[in-house]
Symmetry: C2
Subunit: 405 residues, 2 copies
């Protein structure tokens, strides 16, 4: 008998708790697994030996269903970058001690690119010190920018939020008799997947978004203004989707960086709003979808949440087969009928890499997404969750805030 | 036989189209009503004689259901302030000509405070020129700031959006191990109803929002910083709800004014974010709920949408009984079981007035909402719409954009 541990890392999504449920449920089925520990605040909990017994936290099937529908990371998160273990072994020794003390034979890390770096480093380190702990990565990120996997859990729900909200913003924007421009800023540091997904509105017969700008193409203010003027000649209310990560003149991005060296981006929408106001002079508004695009589980995609649970379970099976340093990934078999299978890849092939929008998804003017690309996005946003509500609003699974301190 | 006309005005909500459906359905039942005209862009359509035949626009019961679920104003909107007819009769003559030419015997105006001013002026003018056109106001505004009526259609859905989203933002905010402050800016120029409604989270067992600031109380930066520091000593992640309309030092509000002399407000959240960063120095973020709080019909409150339809129908009955210059209003009979009846009030008693949060709803420190006030808010957010979806996202009823031009 061995114990296992699971942790959640990086920016919240609607699907990370569903993957946690997937790990938990699958581990419950395994006769070789005894305790299931949840590590508080990602890898920080493993360093500090701050673990919770998940069997005493999740008691019923109703708890599991509620947790599946709860956004963000019930075990907390972190943005902790492990050092190179050849240079600085201290935290590795602490993590290894937690593994030994708690008799942990497998560790599951649910996260994005940075967490896959942790999976890679930990599996290498454990091999080096000959500690038999399997380390498996379970992908998540609304950015959808992990290599090898067809898509990442969390992306489908975020895309469903973006499409639904852009649709409603389109209704809101069109009401007045004067020309207007509405600029919607969407998350995505370097990859435009989420911004591009707003194009699914075109399948609803909407002309909006009339313009879509992603970081994969160079951004020119002159072209932007010319594009907006042209769309204003055709539509009274022009809707623009813009990724937070497009490159604009220096000084707009705040320049603050996080522990991984990522710049905190903000204000691109506001910046373009000011440019349109001064250069074109029409009514203009910018809207930041902010954290809502990553935590609006009331708009969770059933496809996404179901898949997130399945890939969590697949991670457990992968470890119990003796694998380590692996990431579970989706391989798409077909768009229609939508079919995916779960495979494994080496963490070293995924860590610290980014996957960008295929160039052919973007039109030649670099200001919209081609229709055929919708075949990729559309299956990921299908289906609704059967939401548990209380007092008229969706209920959440929550552990007491004191546990997370 | 006479014809009728209906128009929608002011800022979009999730319930304005439901009131339009209420007017339309009730008028269909009346043997004395022939054509049902929709005026494009509010009163502007009556001035320009730009009307659509609603019977050729709404063909089926499915159309009506879809329109009920569609946010914003399908007939367009306006922010047009009628002049005093004693001083400037020109537009009144144009409106009267449209009424006569189209044989319109009753005009229904769905809108907020400003639209009720239009109802009042038009009914006075028509009486003065002895033109027999009944003018009835049907209230709507997410601000909930109309006098006499218990609440306004559109408010319940906006409050449901605010509560659901604040709940999800709370989950999102609590994940990291470092102290943080999240400031959520909510609409409301002078009245704090929508901001106060975020307190319904307390009924879910949430401590968030930990601080709630409404325009009804004077705002002090010193007290705000002291409040935030105190909450940070109790909670790792402090969530603040703040109305866009709180008074902060001059220069923060942009100072632009609309046709009614209302200031365009923005950036209060961002302003407070900057203050917290410089004075307290912890992780801090501000989130503007922006137009999503008024157009997210995917989170529509069934109670709100049903009531919006009912009050539209009641407006038709009110006119056909021979009333004019009246507004249909809700009178609450009891909180539990929640019971309201529809009455009428004089437009002159509602126009250009605002209803504020009762002082006793606000705690003595002026930084939160008392629990007993939840009895008022809670019934208004109950029930979900049975959403019609297409391609995985809610479908909307839309007339071609060329009609609105």
């Amino acid at each position: 008998m061995m114990n296992i541990a699971v942790a959640q890392s990086g920016g919240p999504t609607c699907a990370i708790n569903a993957s946690l449920v997937g790990v938990f449920k699958e581990a419950l089925k395994e006769s070789t697994v005894d305790a299931i520990f949840g590590s508080i605040n990602g890898i920080e909990g493993m360093i500090d030996n701050h673990l919770v017994d998940m069997k005493s936290m999740i008691l019923t099937n109703a708890d599991m269903e509620l947790l599946r529908q709860t956004p963000s990371t019930v075990l907390g998160s972190c943005r902790y970058k492990l050092p190179d273990w050849h240079e600085d072994e201290d935290v590795y020794i602490k993590i290894a001690n937690t593994m030994k003390q708690r008799n942990i034979g497998a560790f599951f890390y649910i996260g994005g690119n940075d967490s896959m770096d942790t999976v890679n480093k930990l599996s290498e380190y454990f091999a080096n010190i000959e500690l038999d702990v399997k380390v498996i990565g379970i992908p998540k990120t609304i950015d959808n920018d992990l290599c090898i996997t067809d898509h990442t859990p969390g992306f489908g729900s975020a895309a469903k939020y973006v499409a639904t909200t852009m649709h409603e913003i389109t209704r809101d924007s069109i009401v007045y008799s004067i020309p207007s421009v509405t600029i919607v800023e969407i998350m995505g540091r370097h990859a435009g997947w989420l911004t591009a997904s707003s194009a699914v509105l075109h399948a609803m017969g909407e002309t909006a978004p009339h313009l879509i700008y992603v970081p994969e193409r160079a951004f020119s203010l002159d072209s932007f203004l010319s594009d907006v003027r042209q769309e204003l000649s055709k539509h009274k209310a022009v809707i623009v989707a813009v990724s937070e990560g497009i490159e604009v003149p220096e000084g707009v991005q705040s320049g603050l960086v996080d522990n991984f060296g990522h710049k905190y981006l903000s204000g691109i929408g506001k910046y373009l709003e000011d440019i349109v106001r001064s250069e074109i002079g029409c009514k203009v508004r910018s809207i930041e979808l902010n954290v809502m695009q990553r935590c609006s589980s009331h708009l969770g995609s059933k496809t996404d949440i179901d898949e997130a649970e399945e890939i969590g379970a697949a991670g457990v099976r992968c470890a119990l087969k003796g694998n380590t340093g692996k990431i579970v990934v989706f391989k798409r078999i077909s768009d229609a009928p939508y079919t995916v299978k779960i495979e494994t890849a080496n963490a070293s092939d995924i860590a610290n890499k980014e996957k960008f929008l295929p160039d052919e998804y973007i039109n030649s003017a670099g200001n919209n997404i081609r229709d055929f690309a919708l075949d990729y996005f559309m299956p990921l946003i299908q289906g609704d969750l059967n939401l548990v509500t209380e007092h008229g609003i969706p209920k959440h699974f929550a552990i007491h805030e004191s546990v997370l301190k």
